[in-house]
């Protein structure tokens, strides 16, 4: 019985020792090698004091070491915390402090950032996988792979222990950490394997970076199914032609990404020239796939099954919709039905079930649900709903997503009940961007809105009222934001106004602003 991730890897190493577990670029790692190298990393981590219940950061680009890092960390009983390598350093320092991270596992490519990071006030004691000269401890990967293996059997990891914490945008201006256990993470892997019939013959393309919840399919379900996961390199994600070629040369059987990556490959026009006959599943999620592009793609690739996947990072995946025919222009593509071991409610503002077909907030109860938000009991409580029965109760996660049921019994996504948006699959709280810009001393007032460009792209736009005598330019604002928040949350467009249009209750009239901007 497999109930933790280390057990999942051990089982794969016993059953398929020579089978490739992960591949990235020209580097391969078999299940046997992965098991041994993660034992070495875990032994090293234990030797520097990492113990069950700790959190260890994973600070890397897309690379083979991500697989060693996460399973190595989990073997110690600690939880891994992925940290986006492109984040501004102030933000990295915030995460290290918020999550009490003393050790980072990284790669030499980020040496310069390691040196800069060591200057910040954080709990950091060491960086593994760094060859920079630091004022804190550092260890190279060569040293780690020379570590003799300690007896790790003494570490007693239970299903309810934390496996990873994934940070996402928070409306307070600071990101929040979503805590998942071995139980919730492994259940997600098990459900994915059942739902998509994954076997050790499958080759999964992992396009998402480690800090993005879509990556859990490749990193978790891959090893549990003893399949091969191809970690798409950063370079491939930026060059759609190379990316499309990769699907052909790697004989990918399952693709999972945000729609944008598929649209970019479609637009290269080279897909029809490639042999993609191995591809049997195309999964997409994170945001809405424009019908026009999805339709084109499905006409081009008639063989694979297409699935629209839905689920906030708090519950991993929870619904899917098998797209059987290329969608017509005006239809809303359903997010589908909940999968196994999952129940849902659709509530109105008073926590009452809405009538059939009415719009309400989606609540999810599932074995894949998170344990809560790290160090934030209040928010955890606020996002939960307890349904009590005679002898038991069920906890639902309030997704904040508005849905309704269509005539065929499929769920349709109808927007948000707050100011969270998805741009290129990234989950962004508009309040967080406003909070960031408001910190600027020369800003008197700020409103952030999302406008649609002529090309139907969503664009973040910040409208600013400057303080008197301020010489603030749009470039200054962008630079200011780039130092604080992730680059995908930095407004592309900055406008200055002398005053905002207001509603009757003196609130900023954001709808009016959007009208003014799109005129």
């Amino acid at each position: 019985m497999i109930s933790t991730f280390p057990q999942s890897l051990k089982a794969a190493a016993l059953k398929h020792p020579k089978h490739t577990a992960f591949r990235c670029g020209s580097t391969d790692i078999s299940y046997n090698q992965l098991d041994e190298k993660t034992d070495q990393l875990a032994s090293h981590l234990c030797s520097i004091g990492v113990k069950k219940g700790d959190k260890v950061g994973v600070y890397m680009n897309r690379c083979i070491e991500t697989s060693i890092a996460i399973y190595g960390i989990m073997k110690t009983g600690a939880a891994y915390v992925p940290i986006d390598a492109t984040l501004p350093l102030t933000r990295v320092a915030y995460l290290l402090n918020d999550c009490e991270i003393e050790h980072l596992v990284s790669i030499p490519l980020l040496n310069r950032k390691h040196s800069a990071l060591a200057a910040y006030q954080t709990p950091l004691k060491s960086i593994l996988g760094s060859s920079a000269e630091l004022n804190i401890d550092s260890t190279t990967w060569d040293d780690i792979f020379n570590t003799s293996i300690h007896n790790l059997d003494e570490v007693n990891i239970e299903a309810d222990d934390l496996a990873y914490i994934m940070y996402t945008s928070g409306s307070t201006g600071f990101p929040k950490g979503i805590m998942h256990t071995h139980y919730s993470g492994l259940n997600y892997a098990k459900l994915s394997i059942n739902h998509f019939n994954l076997t050790n013959d499958d080759i999964l393309a992992n396009h998402a970076p480690l800090h993005f919840d879509i990556s859990t399919l490749g990193y978790f379900a891959g090893p549990l199914a003893c399949a091969t996961t191809v970690i798409v390199t950063d370079a491939h994600t930026k060059m759609p032609t190379s990316l499309a070629n990769l699907i052909a040369t790697e004989k990918i059987t399952l693709w999972y990404s945000v729609p944008l990556a598929l649209v970019q490959m479609l637009q290269t026009g080279i897909l029809e020239q490639l042999d993609l006959s191995a591809l049997r599943l195309v999964l997409f999620g994170g945001e809405v796939f424009t019908n026009k592009y999805l339709s084109e793609l499905m006409h081009l690739l008639p063989k694979p099954s297409f699935y629209n996947i839905y689920g906030p990072a708090e519950v991993n995946q929870c619904t899917s919709y098998h797209v059987k025919n290329p969608p017509e222009d005006k239809t809303i593509l359903p997010i589908g039905k909940v999968w196994e071991d999952t129940d849902y409610l659709i509530f109105d503002k008073n926590d009452q079930n809405v009538a059939d077909g009415e719009i309400g907030e989606l609540l999810i109860h599932s074995t894949t649900r998170m344990k809560g938000y790290w160090n934030n009991l209040e928010l955890t409580k606020k996002s939960s709903y307890n349904q009590t029965f005679e002898n038991s109760f069920r906890i639902y996660h309030r997704t904040g997503d508005l849905v309704r049921i269509d005539d065929a019994g499929e769920l349709l996504f109808m927007g948000r009940n707050d100011r969270q948006v998805k741009i290129r699959g990234y989950r962004i709280e508009i309040d967080e961007i406003e909070a960031c810009i408001a910190q600027n001393n020369e800003v008197s007032e700020v409103a952030v809105v999302i406008v649609e460009t002529i090309e139907k792209e969503k664009e973040i736009c910040a409208i600013i009222i400057k303080k008197e005598n301020s010489t603030l330019s749009d470039k200054d604002i962008k630079t200011f934001c780039k130092a604080q928040i992730p680059v995908y949350a930095v407004p592309q467009r900055i406008e200055f106004m002398d005053s905002f249009p207001r509603t009757g209750s003196e609130k900023i009239d954001r709808n009016r602003i959007i009208e003014m901007l799109t005129k």
């Binding site: 060059m239 944008l260 080279i270 290129r424 780039k482």
Partner: protein
């Protein structure tokens, strides 16, 4: 040519505050310098500035990894 591309990337496209000046041999794709949309903008810029057409099949890692790779590719055209 090299200078023009370097300047455009450092001034307009770069996601990160570059600590050192961008060099022609720096990896544009592996690190955080450009994202996929930034790369698309760079290709549009090159097409306009140097009056060339970059067909989709040429938009590969081999041709765009560094500014050196880009100039080698453009000189072949």
């Amino acid at each position: 040519m090299t200078e023009i591309i370097l300047e455009y990337i450092s001034k307009i496209l770069s996601n990160e505050q570059l600590e050192d000046e961008l060099q022609a041999e720096d990896d544009l794709l592996g690190g955080g310098i450009l994202d996929s949309l930034g790369m698309m903008k760079l290709i549009l810029f090159i097409e306009e500035k140097f009056n060339v057409k970059v067909p989709p099949e040429d938009m590969t890692i081999e041709n765009f990894m560094t500014v050196d790779h880009i100039t080698t590719y453009l000189n072949k055209k």
